[in-house]
Subunit: 390 residues, 2 copies
């Protein structure tokens, strides 16, 4: 009787076993759960606490038993399929720790919606967070499964399958280029810890992929299977979503085959404080502006420009690459700047201004700049929204 009842609840609501979430999160969708922290809180910590790290689920959170969990690794020509328990993943491979920022492709989508309606969750500016991830290197696991450099000539993608699935049994899936997966400098992890603790259920317990510098969608959670392949993942999310198009392309003309799947993300920054519409006292004499900046592909943020007058004049912000008051971490090796920078500017209030129009834009070490305005980068899925933030 009890068993039947539970089954029937589950089949009516596959989300009934989703974990509890922090009440401060701003919810964009309950089922699947998608939420972001308030921007003012986001920039309070260099390492985002796991509880307020943005949540981006495509499907119900699966319940995974760590004892029976197996990670399958297959598709390596000449190699035998590998099946690893959680314990084996933790003990057979060296543990590596990487601080990496993850950003949803749809971060700041709400700004595109103001230009013209797009399809997708109406993310604000906080679908981005920074954490410390620990686990085995994907490279080491692929080597154990029989990867040899010759493989790269025939096959060029690594597919990931999640254990989360819809009512038809379709699982979440995505892929990354093989050269990123096996690069000594790619730092791709099969992570079993986030911020020093077991992964929370919402972030992929017991194992997720962390692909530093790469769009959130490829950092597959609740990882069940790794497939080395000549082809990209055939999933909806790899083939028919998470791609960028021209502002001229609409749903009646779009050809998803014509654009590459998003992997590395472009330069990004946003203002977290003062909040939009906040009143700055005239008597204050100074205003402090705070925010974050990050670029994909391991490109380091080298400068953030802030304007108080809508982009006519600019000042250079102070960059911060560790918790406030802590000694900054040494500069990352070139091409391996996976973590964001927080930034801050305290500037005199312009004497005559009735209203401050605060704007920020960031520059990375390939000197990529953010585009000035939203409309010319508008796209039907509302991804890659990285215009100057105002």
């Amino acid at each position: 009787e009890d068993w039947r009842k539970q089954q029937s609840v589950k089949s009516t609501d596959p989300y009934s076993t989703d974990p509890e979430r922090h009440p401060a999160l701003r919810i964009n969708s309950l089922k699947p759960f998608n939420a972001e922290p308030p921007p003012e809180i986001l920039s309070d910590n260099y390492i985002t606490p796991s509880a307020i790290f943005f949540k981006r689920n495509h499907l119900p959170v699966p319940q995974v038993d760590p004892k029976s969990y197996r990670l399958q690794v297959e598709g390596l020509p000449g190699g035998a399929p590998l099946s690893l328990s959680l314990e084996e993943l933790k003990t057979r491979f060296p543990k590596h720790t990487v601080t990496a920022t993850l950003q949803c492709a749809g971060n700041r989508r709400s700004e595109m919606n103001k230009v013209k309606q797009v399809k997708g969750l109406n993310w604000g500016i906080a679908a981005i967070s920074n954490a410390t991830w620990s686990g085995a290197r994907l490279k080491d696991v692929l080597l154990a499964a029989g990867y040899r450099p010759e493989v790269a000539r025939q096959t060029c993608h690594v597919q990931f399958e999640g254990l989360d699935s819809d009512v038809t049994g379709t699982t979440y899936g995505a892929s990354i280029p093989l050269n990123k997966a096996v690069s000594e400098e790619g730092d791709v992890l099969l992570a079993y810890q986030m911020n020093g603790e077991d992964l929370p259920a919402d972030h992929g317990y017991p194992v997720r992929v962390v692909v530093p510098g790469t769009v959130g969608a490829r950092n597959v959670k609740w990882l069940g299977r790794i497939i080395v392949s000549e082809e990209e993942s055939s999933s909806h999310w790899q083939q028919n979503d998470y791609k960028g198009f021209s502002p001229a392309t609409d749903w009646d003309t779009v050809d998803f085959k014509s654009a590459p799947a998003i992997q590395e993300l472009p330069i990004q920054s946003a203002i977290t404080q003062p909040a939009e519409g906040a009143v700055v006292e005239r008597s204050a004499e100074e205003v402090t502006v705070k925010g974050y900046a990050w670029s994909g592909g391991g490109r380091e943020v080298v400068r953030v420009d802030v304007s108080l007058d809508g982009g006519r004049t600019w000042q250079v912000a102070q960059l911060q690459s560790s918790e406030k008051g802590q000694v900054p971490a040494p500069s990352p090796p070139p091409g391996r700047a996976w973590a964001w920078k927080l930034w801050e500017l305290t500037a005199p209030l312009p004497p005559a201004a009735q209203e401050l129009e605060i704007v920020c834009k960031a520059v990375d070490n390939s000197y990529n700049m953010q585009p000035d305005s939203v409309a010319p980068i508008w796209n039907l899925r509302g991804v890659l929204s990285n215009a100057w933030h105002r």
Copy 2:
């Protein structure tokens, strides 16, 4: 007598032995010689003929005797200095060929000058060209000189010294990160051929470095010495030039130590046809727009958007990655798209338009976009000018 006369001419004019140049080139500076082809000609060929490939010399062209030429390689901990003749460079190492676009950091500087005067040669849009380069891989030469992966932990730059020098004997110099130099996928060449022939005098005869994806200034010509080092090159051009700054930074406030040396360049595109101010016949019904697009760091151009109405509406151009009429080369491996794409759009003339305001902007496979306007990226040296071209 004759010998004395020649000496005295040389000492008064070190440029007297510079080679002859193609008469179509537009000269920005005669001594040193700096010139670019007319834009309409630039996009006629996917591979730019060497004679009209943009010339960017910092100093007089040195006269190098190929018989006595030696390339010195030094600075590798535990390795002995290496001295290679031209013949040895050609025979001891496999010959590799790479098609790579080079762009001057100052390309399109003239557009910044229109915002506010900058210091530098007044380049138009054609300080960029594409050629086929052949030579030994820098990686192979460094391995022969004793490079081992452990070296990367202590030293992280590879410096290049040219044989070109000023009256005080100061030679041109620059450096690149060691990881680019030794990467299997970096494709850095010690090139002795350009477009299938010996390097022309203006392009570095007998040997130059070709650092695909990296600003022209690091592609040192007339290469004399390679030094593996803990430090970047101490040259003026590495330390106090070729860096990007905020529009707020001017000569009285600039701190050259505060910005990284330009290495990879950001996404770029420009319109080569119709020429600026050209008259399009109303009776023509259609207009054809052509140009180039390129991005640094091996990022592939995936789309070019063209507007005929100043950026209000956009159309997607056709991309071309080989000579017209030839079978396109296969797509480069990820991160190794070193060559530009030419692009073309034929579109109906907007019926009501008195004037076409043609604009282009490109997107690379990290979805980096060009900034909309010049003023917010203005910088005192007028480098990195990559706003939408109009």
